[in-house]
């Protein structure tokens, strides 16, 4: 596809007899938001892990700007992980340092890429706390004292501070109250537009996918059973499984 940052082809991965990924192909273009939906156990998290180089597939290739992600060394992959890429975990505890202040959490990626001016690091941390609507007065507090929604917003600030080009998100609103989810989704949508971010987001939530995504990929038992522009897939689902997903949301 044209303008693709990330492309993957022929991805296969089995856990014993369980097919977690079967012949999966995917592309993410610059500035594009792609949602991966599907029932529990369909392989969504596995796909994110394989695409972000954290787990090797049994077969297939993942390319970032044409470069084979699984063939590059660990040093290069880690560099990618803290520069061009970001990863937002479902559980903020997996993506934050709980014993480090909010400001330190946001500053870590800056320092990891060589920032050595305390005043600048702090100014950027403040700027990002404001962007994710965390009160500046909380900059020196530990994330442990934050609500779940605040922790998740802090994780987003910490990930976006180095302006990555592609962000992987695994159910970033899972486990939050519905009202908090809506606010967080608005925030993600606003920031991805403002920064021209590419986002690959896993979600159970069809409504969230409709709000955020340019394109949708529907997974079932390790396979991509349908993909296309969000409106097309949700308004005119072709695969029986997608039809079921969409109708179950409408019924709810």
């Amino acid at each position: 596809m044209t303008g693709a940052l990330l492309t993957a082809e022929g991805l296969d991965l089995h856990f014993g007899a369980i097919p977690a990924l079967v012949d999966v192909a995917i592309g993410v273009a610059e500035g594009e938001v792609v949602a991966i939906v599907g029932e529990s156990g369909s392989g969504k998290t596995t796909l994110l892990r394989v695409l972000s180089g954290q787990m090797a597939p049994d077969a297939g290739t993942v390319r970032w700007l044409g470069q084979d992600v699984h063939a590059m060394g660990e040093a290069a992959r880690r560099r990618l992980m803290r520069t061009d890429w970001g990863f937002v975990h479902q559980n903020p505890r997996d993506g934050l340092r709980l014993n480090v202040s909010a400001g330190g959490n946001v500053g870590e990626r800056l320092m990891a890429v060589g920032a050595r001016h305390y005043g600048n690091i702090r100014a950027q941390a403040l700027e990002w706390l404001a962007k994710v609507e965390v009160d500046a007065a909380r900059i020196d507090d530990l994330p442990r004292t934050f609500s779940g929604g605040m922790q998740q917003r802090l994780q987003i600030a910490r990930t976006l501070v180095t302006r990555p080009r592609l962000v992987f998100m695994d159910e970033p609103t899972g486990g939050l109250d519905v009202s908090v989810q809506a606010r967080l989704l608005d925030l993600i949508r606003g920031l991805s537009r403002e920064l021209g971010l590419s986002v690959l987001i896993v979600t159970h939530d069809i409504a969230a996918a409709r709000l955020l995504a340019d394109r949708i990929l529907v997974m079932r038992r390790g396979r991509v059973v349908e993909q296309g522009l969000t409106d097309r897939v949700l308004d005119d689902p072709q695969h029986p499984y997608t039809q079921l997903l969409v109708s179950s949301v409408l019924a709810a």
């Binding site: 202040s101 330190g104 500053g107 870590e108 990626r109 320092m111 001016h117 305390y118």
Partner: protein, 284 residues
């Protein structure tokens, strides 16, 4: 030279062990600041008494060497005396309290005030060789961070200090970058001593007995204390002059003089202080 105690190999360790240690030391010198694991031997002293430093000293000691041992800057503490006595007994080497006479100086907590020379070796006793241990307890992960020179985490720690206290709180064991590549723990010396490590003419060897690691700084290697551009590293000493020799440059210890709270500041390096006092008396 005294005759070494019968029944021991020279310097206590057997020759195979010394060769193993020397190979480790050579590797350590070849990759400045990088921790090299070694097969530590049981020493006739408990960990915490400097078994790592003692093994390094035993491996490099020759009959013609003159050994100085300091603990907290002083030659006359129990620890320093027992290590000196140990090498007198098992190697029969000469010992000294004078920095300039020593060819090998084993140390805990201090670097001598007098500039060291190319013909001297400084051996540090190290309790915890891993500068990232408090931030990342998993050994496999710290190894990976060193391999990738991924040291952002250490700066996060310094950031936290400044955010909470307005300055970097670490007064001892202040982390350094060696040769622009490896993050290294200088052992629990005061941050005041860190600048002495930079381009030191003497070879510096570090032995950690419990953790079974050796690392090194070859002569004239760049050693930089971590800091921020707007919060530069500053070696700190008490603002007083030494009550005995009057020095305003040396690192001072606070000494309680009576039970009514009286106290004075004196040089922690007893040889440095004594030499200055003697010179002043000579002149007077």
């Amino acid at each position: 030279m005294n005759a070494p105690l019968a029944g021991y190999n020279f310097a206590y360790l057997d020759e195979a062990t010394k060769r193993m240690l020397r190979r480790t030391i050579l590797k350590a010198v070849a990759v400045p600041g990088h921790q090299i694991p070694f097969g530590a031997r049981e020493m006739p002293l408990p960990y915490g008494w400097g078994t790592g430093g003692i093994q390094v000293t035993a491996a490099i000691l020759g009959p013609a060497d003159t050994l100085k041992v300091i603990d907290q800057g002083a030659d006359d503490t129990t620890n320093a005396i027992s290590i000196r006595r140990f090498f007198t007994r098992v190697a029969g080497v000469a010992t000294t309290e004078r920095t300039e006479e020593a060819t090998i100086i084993q140390t805990r907590h201090r670097i001598p005030e007098a500039a060291l020379r190319e013909d001297q070796i400084l051996v540090y006793q190290v309790p915890q060789p891993e500068p990232l241990s408090k931030l990342e307890p998993r050994r496999a992960e710290t190894k990976r961070l060193h391999a990738l020179a991924d040291y952002g985490l250490m700066h996060v720690r310094l950031y936290e200090d400044i955010a909470r206290l307005g300055h970097i709180a670490k007064a001892y064991d202040y982390p350094v970058m060696v040769n622009g590549r490896y993050l290294m723990s200088p052992s629990p010396i005061p941050a005041f001593d860190n600048p002495k490590m930079h381009r030191m003419a003497a070879l510096q060897l570090f032995g950690a007995g419990r953790e079974k690691r050796i690392y090194a700084i070859p002569p004239y290697t760049e050693v930089r204390s971590l800091d921020f551009e707007d919060h530069p590293f500053r070696p700190i000493r008490a603002p007083q002059a030494c009550a005995l020799c009057g020095s305003r440059e040396s690192y001072l210890d606070e000494v309680i003089t009576d039970d009514r709270g009286g106290r004075v500041f004196v040089c922690s390096d007893t040889d440095y202080c004594g030499t200055r006092v003697a010179a002043q008396k000579g002149v007077a």
